[in-house]
Amino acid sequence: MFFLSEKAIELVGEAKNDIEIMIGMLCAMQLHDEALEYGYEKYMEYILEPSGVTLEELRAHPEGVKVRVIIPPAFKKYEKEGFHTPSGKVEFVSQILERYKDSHGYSGLPEYRDFREVSGMDRETYPLILNTGSRKPQLFHARTYRVPWLAGLEEATLVEIHPEDAKKYGIADGDMVRVSSPVGSICGIAAVYLNSQPGIVHVYHGNAKGEANDLIDRNYLDPISGFPGYKSYFCKIEKEKGEVKA
């Protein structure tokens, strides 16, 4: 069965769905993509093509349409078409990255560079590594913090540290602590946690009362992919004194 999921509410402010954001960026950057460059409706038609069903049919039948997939998904496409690399092969040395050797200093062959050394961070002030986004069964990003039964399972914001670090910084389980990075600071409840690694501070992200991701510099990105370093920024931790504003 195929269903078309239309927007449930009128858009708030400048909100757009993910695909429209991607299309907007594609156009702004003047990039080409056979699926996206012709707009949202055309993209939907492209996605539906293998099913043989059209957008109009789906709109006419909100209860869903039963279809037989006319173009089944292809497997082992690389045997006929090769891979989407300049050589068409699996590249151990990336020819794309080699092109930017002089302009960006990229290397075709993967090189290990320890971010703790190349970041130029003052490690005396920020000796610990902040890891946000570790999974918890009851939480899913910011959204489940708004479900009281789930949010009520654990006190928030928990700052999980190894017993060795707890001893080193004079922190006991349940103490109010402040986690600071070069770009921000949040307050939380210390949880001494044996399974963590000494030197690492885990704070789950997404809590409006103490958003751990706000502690990560917006320009702290992987130099090639641009992905933010949520798992490994720099921080310090100290016991919170006086009135606590969590």
């Binding site: 069964p137 009851q138 039964w149 789930l150 009520g152 399972l153 946690y193 044996l194």
Partner: protein, 140 residues
């Protein structure tokens, strides 16, 4: 028939599904401040730490501690139940509970697991038993 709710801490993975099932079985969704009848405990074994979710085993130790006989054993199921009207909120039961699973409502009255007695009467399993996928909670 006398039931016991068994809990195996080795099998528990701390997923909290029993907490949510318990809340769902005993409360309306609007009841945002509701507390589940189960608890969360940290355990350490072989240098590995995990959270587990013990609940009332219906051992009945609290019955003897209650000075006003507000806690009693249901003759049909053997579940340990509480009479809210009689409870004076003295917390004597909380002090003797070996599982730390007795809590108090906003009026100071004792609250505990009722073994999902309503579900049992309907021929169903307790909510926590139903959702516990590793089989840590069992009705015996």
């Amino acid at each position: 028939m006398s039931y016991r709710l068994k809990f195996d801490p080795d099998k528990c993975v701390g997923c909290y599904a029993c907490h949510i099932a318990c809340l769902d079985a005993h409360h309306d969704v609007e009841d945002v401040d509701a507390k589940s009848h189960r608890t969360v405990k940290k355990v350490v074994k072989n240098q590995f730490e995990k959270n587990i979710c013990p609940g009332c085993a219906h051992c009945g130790i609290c019955i003897k501690a209650c000075p006003v006989q507000s806690i009693y054993k249901d003759p049909k199921t053997g579940f340990v139940l509480t009479d809210k009207e009689k409870c004076i909120g003295c917390h004597a039961c909380e002090k003797v509970c070996p599982k730390d699973v007795i809590h108090f409502d906003k009026d100071g009255k004792m609250k505990k697991c009722d073994g999902c007695i309503e579900r049992i009467r309907e021929g169903r399993e307790p909510a926590c038993v139903r959702v516990c996928f590793p089989g840590a909670i069992t009705l015996e």
